[in-house]
């Protein structure tokens, strides 16, 4: 069984244990740092690619301010002009931060959305990642549709029993669209003139 305790061996034992454990953790951290960064970057790239039309060149991350919040966004270039934007937009959901990647066309149409991270209730709000009826409506959400859940008089179909999550999701999308309206006012007017 265990050794008899005295001050010296207790102090020595705790010090050695902590030293050894820190050394192990330091080593594992050093080994896994590169794959962790790569995985995070791959996930971010995949999310950007998923919400943008295929084929263009995606720019490096840029930032812009709107209403006191700084947003990170990416531009997709095709034929010398911007064909779409991907905006990282966050709001408070039901269980905490809800972070989305939103693809917006210059005319204000939502191309697609993707959840980057969330802490919504499993089986309820967490369906914002899996509920086909909810997620697919963002695929080409027309620019003249109202960004609010149906309960609040808008055109967004909320997830059953998860209005707060749906509202937060909608707010994040509308923040992204507002940012693009600010960044690209000409394109917006141009496109709507064309549509008339």
């Amino acid at each position: 069984m265990a050794a008899k305790s005295n001050l010296q061996n207790m102090a020595l034992c705790l010090t050695l244990t902590c030293l050894l454990c820190s050394a192990i953790l330091g080593m594992v951290y050093a080994v896994t740092k590169a794959p962790i960064d790569a995985a995070a970057e791959a996930a971010a790239k995949a999310a950007i690619a998923e919400v943008l039309p295929e084929g263009g060149d995606i720019s490096e991350a840029k930032t812009a301010d709107l209403d006191g919040t700084t947003y990170e966004y990416y531009e997709e270039m095709g034929g010398g002009q911007v064909v779409a934007y991907a905006v990282k937009s966050s709001t408070n959901g039901f269980g905490g931060n809800l972070s989305l990647m939103v693809g917006v066309l210059p005319d204000g149409t939502i191309y697609n959305t993707k959840v980057l991270s969330h802490s919504e209730t499993p089986g309820l709000g967490a369906k914002c990642t899996s509920d086909k009826k909810f997620t697919s409506q963002w695929n080409g959400f027309a620019k003249d549709k109202k960004l609010a859940v149906a309960k609040d008089g808008g055109d967004v179909d909320a997830i059953t029993a998860s209005t707060i999550t749906s509202r937060a999701y909608t707010l994040a999308v509308s923040q992204a669209r507002d940012l693009i309206k600010m960044l690209d006012p000409d394109a917006t007017t141009g496109a709507s003139l064309f549509d008339k």
Binding site: M10, I24, V28, I36, L124
Partner: protein
């Protein structure tokens, strides 16, 4: 040999950590929203349990009695952090669903419980087998709870949906966890007798 085998099998029935010892209830209730989550959480705990049992059986003879708990906790926390980093690096999708609960493995009573009750009194091979047995028992229990909750709550098993539409939402949330655990405890103890 039979003795060694019983070290592994006892975790399923005789000393089942969830239904007999009733340990580690926090991860049990929190992560069993679906069968796959329960299974993954069980396997993560199994990994930490085997390694910490081996390490603790090796160091326990030289650890002074009065500081053995802090030393064991540091050892367990180290393995949990290693697991967390490795999962983050090589299985990011699993980490995404379980990430929040991985640090909780440190305070899972099963791990410190096995360290205190078994690993510090036995050699490292027996301790590893004990960790394997208890870990497999824990994994099986979590998977069973997860399957029941997923069937009732979402109408699916391991993500395969057999009922269209929603299940009984309460079973996906905390109250359902308590109910399923309670009834399974009754059932298990009935069968065991």
């Amino acid at each position: 040999m039979a003795n060694k085998l019983s070290l592994i099998t006892k975790g399923f029935i005789k000393e089942n950590p969830t239904f007999v010892l009733v340990l580690g209830m926090c991860p049990t209730l929190a992560t069993t929203t679906s069968a796959i989550n329960g299974l993954e959480m069980g396997l993560a705990t199994l990994f930490v349990l085997v390694l910490s049992n081996i390490a603790i059986s090796l160091i326990s003879p030289i650890v002074p009695d009065k500081v053995h708990i802090p030393v064991y906790i540091v050892v367990i926390a180290t393995f949990v952090t290693v697991l967390q980093l490795v999962m983050q690096a090589y299985t990011p999708s699993v980490y995404k669903t379980l990430g929040l609960f991985i640090p909780l493995i440190v305070v899972n009573c099963i791990i410190l419980g096995r360290a205190e009750a078994f690993a510090c009194k036995n050699n490292w091979i027996d301790s590893a087998l004990d960790g394997l047995g208890i870990g497999l028992g824990f994994t099986a229990s979590l998977t069973v709870i997860g399957i029941v909750r997923e069937i009732l709550g979402s109408g699916s098993v391991f993500g395969w949906k057999f009922i269209a539409g929603d299940g009984i939402l309460a079973f996906v949330m905390a109250p359902g966890a308590f109910m399923v655990l309670g009834y399974l405890l009754v059932l298990f103890n009935k069968i065991k007798k």
